[in-house]
Amino acid sequence: MNTSIESQFPTYQIIDGEGNMVNDDYKSEITEELARKFYEKMIFARLFDRKGVNLQRQGRIGTYVPFEGQEAAQIGSALALEDGDWMFPTYRDHGATSAFGHSLKNIFLYWRGFIEGCVPPEGKNIFPPAVPIASQILHATGTAWADKKKGNDRVSLVYFGDGATSEGDFHEGLNFASVFNVPAIFFNQNNGFAISLPINKQMKSKTIAQKALAYDIPGVRVDGNDIFAVYFETKKAVDRARNGEGPSLIEALTWRYGAHTTTDDPTKYRDQHESHERREKYDPMTRLEKFMQKQGYWDEEWAEEVQKDASRRLDEAVEEMEKVEKSDEAVMFDYVFGTDVWPVEEQKQAFFADRSER
C-alpha cells in the first residue's frame, strides 16, 4: 500500500497537457459553451497581463505584478463564485478580480498609484489586493464567520501563495475557520516560488493540501493549469461552504512565467529555462485550445474575434485610466477616518496655508 503524502493528496486533473479528457467525472457538464466561456476569460486575462507589463515598461503605470501562467488557477476559481460572494485577492490576482467583475479601468488605475483603483463596482465584494503576506486569510475567515452568523448565503474565497503558508496568519486563519466552521475557501496558488525562495526551502511538507489535515478540513490538490479541474474542485468547495459544511483548502499547482514584479529579475534565482519548458508542456491556454480542437469546439474565426474584442476592451480601459487627472493633494486627507475628525481637518488647513504662502 502506498501511503506517501503525495499519494494521499494526488493532483486532480480533468484535461491533460495534450488536451485529452482523463476522466469522466464532469463529462456532462463540460460543454462547448463552458469551454468557450473559459477561453474568453483566459485569453482576456493573458492579454490584460501583457498590457500591464507593457504599460509599466513605457512608464505609463508604476510597478506591476504579472501573473502570466496562472490564468487557469485564477479564472477557474473566480468563475466558481456567485455574484455576491467575497473575494480576497493578493497583488497577483487581477486575473481573478477582472474575471469576477472588477472594473478594468480601476485595476489599471491601482497600478498607476491611485487608491481609487481599489474600489470595486457597486455590489462586487472584492477586497483591495493584499500585499502584507497572508493578512487577507484572516479577513476571509472574518467575513465568512459574519455571513454565517447573519444567515447570509455567501461564501468567502481567499487567494494566497505558497510562501504565505509560512505566516502564522495562515495557520491561525485555517484554525479559526475550522473551529467556527465558516463558509470559507482557502485557495492557494502554488507557483513554486516566493520571490526568490523555492518551495522546498519554504516548507518541508510535500504538499500544501496536506496542511488541511491539521485543521481537519478537506484539502485537495489540483492541476492549477487545468481550468476544468480548478473550476469543478472550487465549485465543490463553494457548494460545501454554502451548505454549511465548512471551509476547504485547495492547492492549485501552477507557475509564474515572468518576474515576481516588474522590478525583479528572476534569472538571479531561477533557471528561466524551466519556465520556457513549462510553457511548452503545461501552458493553461494551449491546453484549453488543444482540448477544444480535439472536441471540435475550436473555431479560428471565433478565436480571432474574441482576441480582438479583448484587445479593444483593454485599450478602452487604458484610455479611461489615462484620462483620470493627477490626484489633487486634497485627497490625501480623505478617508483617514470615516468622518472628518478635527485634527485631520486642522492639519489639512495648515498644509494648504503653508503652500499658499510660498
Partner: protein, 327 residues
C-alpha cells in the same frame, strides 16, 4: 578616503564582523542569492554559505523569535526584516520578549541581537511598505534604537550594534542606500548614544533624523545665502539619546526645530522637544520649538502625494525662517 554607498557600508560592517566572529549570522527573507529586497546582502551567501546567511520562510514572528532564542545562547544574530512595516508581525517577540528577557531573568539572560530593517517612503511602495515606526520601539525599555543617516555612520554604528549586549533596532532608509560617503576600510565603532553635529551654526538648531539630516543640510545651504546660520544635529541613536549635545546646541542658538519623516503626532520629535523644555536650555529659547513630521495620514501610493506627505527642503526652510523671525 574611499567612497562607498550606505548599502555597501552596511554590508561591509556585517561581512567584516562575520569573518572574525563565527557567532554572527544573518537571517531573513530573500537574503540568499537574491541579496535581499534592496541588495544589502548581495554576494554574502557566496562567501559565508547558507548556514550563516539564512534564507528563511516568510515568517517574521519566527525570524524575530528564533533570533531571540539564538541570542540567548550567546550567538549574535542579525535579522533583516524585508520592510520595516512588517515589524508589526514580529512585535510580540521584540517588545514582550527581546526587550524584557534580561530584566525578567534577573540579569541572567542576554539578547544580543540586531534587527536591521529598511524604513521610510519615497519608493512608491504605498501605505503598508513606507512607514517610519521608530517611535514605537523607542518607547520600549530594553531596546536600543539606531537610525544612521550616512554611510560612515551606518558602518560604525552597525559594528557597535553587533557588539552590544542588548537588542538593537537598526533602521536603514530605503532612499539612503545609494547615497555615498567616505568610509574607512578597517572596522571601527561609533558609540551608540552619541549625536553628531553634521553642520555647525549659531542661529538655529535643527535636529533631524535619518533622511531628514540630508534635507536639513540642503536647507541650511540655501539659508546660508540669506545669512541664516543653521546648526544641524543628527542624534544617530534615539535610544539612548545624546541629550547633552542637543541641549548645548540650543543653549547656543536659542532656537530649535525638530524634523523627522515619521508622522508628527506621537513621533520622536515630541520627545526631543520635551527634553529641551525640561532642560536648562529652556531659558535660552528665543522662539517656540517647532516640529516637522509626516502628515497624519497613511503614506499615499501616488508619487506626487507621497512627497507631499513628508517634510521636504522648502518646509524646513520655511520653518527656520519663521523661527528666526519670531519676535
Amino acid at each position: 578616503m574611499r567612497e562607498i554607498t550606505y548599502l555597501e557600508a552596511v554590508r561591509e560592517a556585517m561581512s567584516q564582523e562575520m569573518r572574525k566572529n563565527d557567532d554572527v549570522f544573518i537571517l531573513g527573507e530573500d537574503i540568499g542569492v537574491y541579496g535581499g529586497a534592496f541588495g544589502v546582502t548581495r554576494g554574502m551567501i557566496e562567501e559565508f554559505g547558507p548556514e550563516r546567511i539564512r534564507n528563511t520562510p516568510i515568517s517574521e514572528a519566527a525570524i524575530a523569535g528564533g533570533a531571540v532564542g539564538a541570542a540567548l545562547t550567546g550567538m549574535r544574530p542579525i535579522l533583516e526584516l524585508q520592510f520595516s512595516d512588517f515589524i508589526t508581525i514580529a512585535m510580540d517577540q521584540i517588545v514582550n520578549q527581546a526587550a524584557k528577557l534580561r530584566y525578567m531573568y534577573g540579569g541572567k539572560g542576554s539578547v544580543p541581537m540586531v534587527l536591521r530593517t529598511p524604513a521610510g517612503s519615497g519608493t512608491g511602495a504605498a501605505a503598508q511598505h513606507s512607514q517610519s515606526l521608530e517611535a514605537w520601539v523607542a518607547h520600549i525599555p530594553g531596546l536600543k534604537v539606531v537610525q544612521p543617516s550616512t554611510a560612515y555612520d551606518a558602518k560604525g554604528l552597525l559594528k557597535a550594534a553587533i557588539d552590544d549586549e542588548n537588542p538593537v533596532i537598526f533602521y536603514e532608509h530605503k532612499l539612503l542606500y545609494k547615497t555615498k560617503g567616505d568610509v574607512p576600510e578597517e572596522q571601527y565603532s561609533i558609540p551608540i548614544g552619541k549625536a553628531d553635529i553634521k553642520r555647525e551654526g549659531k542661529d538655529v538648531t535643527v535636529v533631524a533624523t535619518s533622511i531628514m539630516v540630508h534635507k536639513a543640510l540642503e536647507a541650511a545651504e540655501e539659508l546660508e545665502k540669506e545669512g541664516i546660520d543653521v546648526e544641524v544635529i543628527d542624534p544617530r541613536t534615539l535610544v539612548p539619546l545624546d541629550e547633552e549635545t542637543i541641549v548645548n546646541s540650543v543653549k547656543k542658538t536659542g532656537r530649535l526645530i525638530v524634523v523627522h519623516e515619521a508622522v508628527k503626532r506621537g513621533g520622536f520629535g515630541g520627545e526631543i522637544a520635551s527634553v529641551i523644555a525640561e532642560s536648562e536650555a529652556f531659558d535660552y529659547l528665543d522662539s517656540p520649538i517647532k516640529r516637522l513630521g509626516g502628515l497624519p495620514i497613511p503614506i499615499p501610493y501616488n508619487p506626487n502625494l507621497e512627497k507631499a506627505a513628508v517634510p521636504q527642503v522648502p518646509d524646513i526652510i520655511d520653518a527656520v525662517k519663521e523661527t528666526v523671525r519670531f519676535k
